[in-house]
C-alpha cells in the first residue's frame, strides 16, 4: 500500500479553449491542460470537473478517445455547478480529476453488430465509443445508432448525426417524444427503434445510455429482441462526491457506481433495477 500516494482529491488545472452551444441548455467545452501534457481516457469514462469556489460534478467525456490533446465535455446546465460551467468563457481555468470509471467494452465487441441506444443528453457519454467504433469500422458487423430526444429541438449533435446518417457503413435512426415544427421523422419512444431491429440479436452488443427508466425499457426491448443480458451495457448515474470510492455517495447495492461502473453489464445489475429506492 502506498501510504503517501498522490491525493486523488486534488484537481489538475485545464483551460477552456472552445465553447460550443449545442442546445438551449447544453454546451460542449474543449479543454487543454493548463500546465501542458496530454489526456488519455477510454470511451465511457468521466471526470470530476471543479469550478473555483463553486463545486465539483461528474461529467462524462464526450470527445474522441483517439485524441489526446483536447479534453471534450458536453454538459446540460441543470443546477449550481453545471450552471457555473455554462458561464465559463474561453481562457477560464477549471479543475479536472480523472478519468474515472469502467469504460464501454468496445474492443470486446469486435466481430459483432454494435448497437448504440441513447436518450437525450445520454448521447454524449456514448459518442467516444461511437468514434472508437468508426475508427475500427472493419472490425464490426453493423454499427447502429438509435437515438431518442424529447423534441426535434432537443436533438444533440444534430449536424454530426446528419453526417453519420449520410454514411453507408452506419445505420442511424432518430425518434422524438413529441413532434414540433416541420419534423417528419419518427415519433415515439426509443424502444420502438429497438423493436424494429435490423441487427443480428445473437451476435449483437448494445451500449445504452440515458435516463434510468429509458435504460430499463431499452434493455428489456433488446432482451425481447433476443440480445443476451451479457451483451447489453448501461451507464448509471448516482450522486458522486469523490469519483474514487471514498465518499460512499454513489453506492447502488454492492456497487460503487464511480468505480465498479458507471458502465455495467446488464446481467450484473438487472435485479437492482427493479428494487425501488435502492
Amino acid at each position: 500500500m502506498s501510504a503517501h500516494a498522490k491525493d486523488p482529491m486534488l484537481p489538475r488545472p485545464f483551460r477552456v479553449e472552445k465553447v460550443k452551444r449545442e442546445l438551449s441548455d447544453t454546451f460542449t467545452m474543449e479543454l487543454v491542460p493548463a500546465e501542458g501534457g496530454g489526456f488519455s481516457f477510454a470511451a465511457g469514462q468521466f471526470n470530476m470537473l471543479y469550478v473555483f469556489g463553486i463545486g465539483e460534478v461528474p461529467i462524462s467525456i464526450s470527445g474522441d478517445p483517439g485524441e489526446h490533446e483536447r479534453l471534450v465535455h458536453t454538459t446540460r446546465a441543470v443546477g449550481k455547478v453545471s450552471g457555473a460551467l455554462d458561464a465559463l468563457k474561453v481562457g477560464d481555468v477549471i479543475g479536472v480529476r480523472g478519468p474515472y470509471g469502467i469504460p464501454w467494452p468496445v474492443e470486446a465487441a469486435f466481430g459483432r453488430d454494435l448497437v448504440f441506444v441513447a436518450g437525450g443528453v445520454g448521447l454524449a457519454p456514448l459518442r467516444p465509443a461511437i468514434y472508437q467504433a468508426m475508427a475500427n469500422r472493419e472490425r464490426f458487423g453493423k454499427v447502429m445508432v438509435l437515438y431518442g430526444a424529447r423534441t426535434p429541438e432537443d436533438i444533440l449533435f444534430k449536424k454530426e448525426i446528419e453526417r453519420w446518417r449520410g454514411r453507408f457503413d452506419m445505420d442511424v435512426a432518430v425518434t422524438v417524444d413529441r413532434a414540433t415544427g416541420k419534423w417528419g421523422g419518427n415519433v415515439g419512444v426509443v424502444t420502438n427503434l429497438v423493436a424494429k431491429g435490423g441487427f443480428d440479436p445473437q451476435n449483437t452488443t448494445a451500449f445504452v445510455c440515458g435516463p434510468e427508466v429509458m435504460m430499463r425499457y431499452a434493455a428489456q426491448a433488446l432482451e425481447k429482441k433476443g440480445v443476451g443480458r451479457g451483451s447489453i451495457f448501461v451507464s448509471m448515474e448516482r450522486n458522486m462526491k469523490c469519483g474514487v470510492g471514498l465518499c460512499g455517495h454513489c453506492q447502488w447495492g454492492t456497487h460503487f457506481v464511480c468505480k465498479d461502473g458507471p458502465v455495467f453489464r446488464y446481467d450484473s445489475i438487472a435485479d437492482l433495477f427493479s428494487i425501488r429506492e435502492l
Binding site: 500500500m1 502506498s2 501510504a3 503517501h4 500516494a5 498522490k6 491525493d7 486523488p8 482529491m9 486534488l10 484537481p11 488545472p13 483551460r15 493548463a34 471543479y50 473555483f52 469556489g53 463553486i54 463545486g55 465539483e56 441543470v78 443546477g79 468563457k89 481562457g91 477560464d92 481555468v93 479543475g95 448515474e237 448516482r238 450522486n239 462526491k241 469523490c242 474514487v244 470510492g245 471514498l246 465518499c247 460512499g248 455517495h249 453506492q251 447495492g253 454492492t254 460503487f256 468505480k259 428494487i275 425501488r276 429506492e277 435502492l278
Partner: protein, 393 residues
Amino acid sequence: MPGVDASITTAVVFDRGGLDALIAALKAKGFHVVGPRVADDAVVYADLDAASDLPAGWGDEQEGGRYRLTRRKDGALFGYTSGVQGWKRHLYPPRQKLFAARRDGQGFAILPPDPPAAPLALIGVRACELAAIAKQAKVFGDRDFADPGYQGRLASAFVVAVECGEAGGTCFCAAMGTGPAVETGFDIKMVEVIDKARHVFVATAGSAAGAKVLDGLKAPAAAEADKAAAAARVAKAAKQAKTLDAKAAARLKEHPDHARWDDVARRCMTCGNCTMVCPTCFCTTVEDTTDLKGEHAERWRNWDSCFTIDFSYIHGGAIRTEVKSRYRQWITHKLSTWHDQFGSSGCVGCGRCITWCPVGIDITAEATAITEGARKAAAGGSKKAATSGGKGR
C-alpha cells in the same frame, strides 16, 4: 502502525505512576496524545496531558437509547466500555480541508497544504476499535485510490490498546469476531488488573516501537499471577448479552422487500446518530467556500450520513426518499454489502448505534428479524418491534 512481532512478548507490569511515565514518554517523542476522559457526562476521546486526565473511577451503563456514567468503587482508569465516538474523530476528522486555492487571473493556483499535524498516540483503544480502524484503513486505501491523509495519520500513530475487563450492555464484539481480546494492530497492549492488593497494568509490546517505549519505563517483568489475572478479565468480557448471527446478517441484501423495513421506518427518526457514532461509517460530502471577494476558495470534506435526503440527490430528485430505504441502505451496507466491497462485515459489534439511537433501535434485533425470522416477522413483526423499540424511552 505496526504488525505484531512475535519475538516481543515479554509482559511487564507497572502502576499508575508507570502509566504517567508512558504518557510523558510519548509526549516527549512528539506525539499528540489522545485518550479517554470525561466531558459532558460521557467518556470521549480527547487530548490527554497526564494519567490524571483519565476517567478514574468512572464506568457507564449502556442499553438501547440509554447512556449513563456511573461511579465505580475500584477506581479503574479504563472501567468504562468505550467512548461515545471512536478514534475516527482523530484519524478521519469530521471536517478536513481538501485544499485551498487562490484566484489567479482567469485561473487559480492550489496553495501548498498545511504542514502535517503531530503524529497521534491513541491511549485506550479497544479490540473492536482496532478492528474498526483496520476496516477504515481498507476503505481508505485497499482499492485503486488511497486517502493519503488517513493512511499517513494511521502509519504515524502509536497505538496503546487496553483490553476490556467487562462488556457493556450493547456490546456484541464476540459475535462479530472482533474482540474482546486484542490480538493485532497495536504498539502496546495493556490489561488493567485490580484486586485487593494492587491496581496495575500488565503490558506487552506489539511492535519494535512499542518495545522501545516499554523498555524505557524500566518496569519489572509480569509474574505468572499477573498474566493469569489479565487473561481472566478478558474472558469475563467475552460474556455478552447481545449477539448476532453475522453469517445470516450478511444475507440482508437478499431481503430488500421485507415487511420489517416498514416497521422500523415507523420508529426511525432518520436523525443519523447511528452513522455519527459508528466507528466504521466513512461517508463524506464536500463543502466549497470562498471569501467575500471570491479570491480565496477552499474545499472541505465533511462527514455525511446516508440518512439525509440530500445524500442520494441527483438532478430530478433524491433516490432514497423514504425512511425505509435509508435505514435499509444503512444496515444492509454495514452488515451485508460491505462483504462484497471489502471482504468482511462493516460492523465490529461496538454497540454504539444501539446506545445512541434516541428510540433504541437495535441493529441486532432488526437484522435478526429480517434474515432469520423472515416469514414470521413479516406476519407478526410489529408486535415484536414494539418491545424491542420501546425500551430506552
